[in-house]
């Protein structure tokens, strides 16, 4: 059975992130218990950068969304900065950490969250 993106890319990244003091999701949850880290595909999701087509190979782009409660602006900003720092520190080798987007306030359900996206990329080759 060939390797999958789930087993070769998303699970290793989620496992690495599990060391962070936050709730980790490899998908977008309906409810977001903060602090939370959510791994979602970025756009473009797959880029084909290498030659040849005998083997499926691509560059995968992801957004790691960091969420903290938005109660006090100074405290929330400090919290999300600490969460971003801890997430970036555990991203494993082979993942290209690019930028962190500006934190924004997002309403999820009845609560406000302070949210920032970390953009990462990696390369995937399907193996037998």
């Amino acid at each position: 059975m060939p390797s999958t993106i789930l087993s070769a890319v998303r699970t290793p990244l989620a496992t690495a992130l599990s060391g962070v003091t936050a709730n980790i999701f490899s998908y977008v949850p309906e409810q977001v218990p903060v602090p939370a880290v959510v791994l979602v595909p970025d756009s473009p999701y797959m880029e084909f950068e290498t030659i040849g087509k005998g083997t499926f190979r691509c560059k995968l782009n992801y957004t790691i969304t960091c969420c903290v409660a938005y109660n006090s602006n100074p405290a929330s900003l400090d919290n999300i900065e600490q969460l971003i720092t801890s997430v970036v520190a555990v991203i494993p080798t082979g993942y290209d950490v690019q930028v962190v987007d500006r934190p924004t306030v997002t309403q999820v359900g009845a609560s406000n969250l302070l949210v920032a996206d970390i953009r990462v990329s990696t390369w995937y080759t399907q193996t037998a």
Partner: protein, 133 residues
Amino acid sequence: MATTVITGRDLTLTIATTAYDAQTTSVTLVNSPTIDVYQTLDGKAYKHTDDQWTLNVELLADWGAASSLFEAMWTAADTNPNTTLAVSLTAVTGAVFACNVLPVFPAIGGAAPGAQTDSWTLTVVGTPADTFS
């Protein structure tokens, strides 16, 4: 005749029997001809005197990986710098070019953020052989 487009995804590259497709983002086999120009009483005259082919490869670095291509090229350049490596470049099914290149030392390092990459300019010994079918 219908338009036929071939792309970089149609390319395959083998150096010293090892496939480099997995790391290669660009490959070109180009010729730099030497053409002498003479100004005669009847105008310009041209003489094609020489050809020097070059294999240009742009790659993602894979230091430390199992069967690392960068480490293989480093070893070849370090231990046998004057021994050519056999190259097979397939432009598309039915158009294959074979040549021999001299190894080069890969560059080490890169910029943050971003993948470590390198560009190799490999001198071709002789003239590539074509196989069209």
